[in-house]
């Protein structure tokens, strides 16, 4: 149990590192993940992303991947590197049903609703 937690943590750290694609000009967006009773809600702040056609989303039962094109490149950091995309790979806090996924993009913020896979079923007491 303890080892599995360590591997999960390594995986999470590597995922976070890989989403800082400095060579590829990618920024990691600010993300908020809400683990509700029956769904996972992910919101992502995407400044300079203008329309939904600029956003690519892929989902599995355990992950959500985002790639979004900024309409204007921004120079960032000590080396003044230019960034023109947001990219993020998110490990979800629960298994979800990918076919249930819905996404909205308003005021530069993306909201993704992911219904959880039911892992518990009620038992009728006779």
């Amino acid at each position: 149990m303890k080892l599995s937690w360590i591997f999960d943590e390594f995986e999470r750290i590597f995922e976070e590192l890989s989403s800082w694609g400095l060579e590829e000009g990618c920024l990691e967006p600010l993300v908020n993940i809400e683990d509700r009773d029956d769904e996972v809600v992910v919101t992502v702040d995407l400044p300079y992303v203008v329309g939904k056609e600029d956003i690519r989303l892929e989902v599995t039962e355990e992950t959500l991947e985002l790639d979004a094109r900024m309409r204007k490149g921004v120079r960032w950091g000590a080396h003044e590197q230019e960034f023109d995309r947001f990219r993020k790979s998110i490990t979800l806090p629960a298994r979800i049903d990918p076919e249930s996924a819905r996404a909205f993009f308003r005021q530069g913020v993306l909201k993704v609703l992911l219904k959880k896979k039911r892992r518990r079923y009620p038992i009728k007491v006779e």
């Binding site: 920024l27 908020n32 702040d45 400044p47 921004v74 909205f104 530069g108 913020v109």
Partner: protein, 248 residues
Amino acid sequence: MEGVRIVELKPVETGLKYVVEGLPDTGLVGAIAVSYLVGKLNLEEVAYIESEALPPVVPVHKGLVNEPFRIYGGDDLLVVLSEIALPLTSLHQLSKALVDWYQRKSVGLVITITGMPVGNRLEIEKPKVFGVATDEETLKLIKGSGISVFKEGYLAGPYALTMRECSRRGLRSLAIISQSFLNYPDPGAAASSLEALSRLTGIRIDTTPLLEKSDEIRVKARDLMRQAQASMKRMGKPLEKEMPLMYG
């Protein structure tokens, strides 16, 4: 105040009308608002706050090292801003030292700007602003300026401590609280707050350029937002969604 020193770079007058505080907090509403205010009103740096409780971080602008926690001044106005998130352990000391200084400077009214997280922020085109005061006279000023009163609830974060400290010392204070995102920089909420500040003080502030630069601000403020998120988790922010037991 032990451990905290306010270092004046230029003589700061006493008897100024207003101090406006905007520290990194919910949606960075206060931080964005006061940062814009400093630029828009061409205020000059008059003091900085020194404390060992602050993290060992200094901002660099155009190749020059800056103080992270600064005070700007202009006609009848002081503005307090921080470019770093304040650690929870430093907040009590810092707010006491700042309010102590405001009192020594005989400031007329202490105004703090902050955000109030709302779940449906995405659906809100123009965030609404609420006000809360430390005394009846200031509450009348809020109502008279057409700002809705934040009637019941909790305040949490740096501005809550500033207000409590002002209240204890009989120093007039109010908070401008705008609906906002919790974890994302919110220039729209900052613009609403500045419009409220304008109504309260009569200081003219055109917020159009702030809204036009919204994307740029959101990108630039990402790192400060990340720092503030870590601090907010520890300062009881979830309490702001709850109701206290006693009703007036």
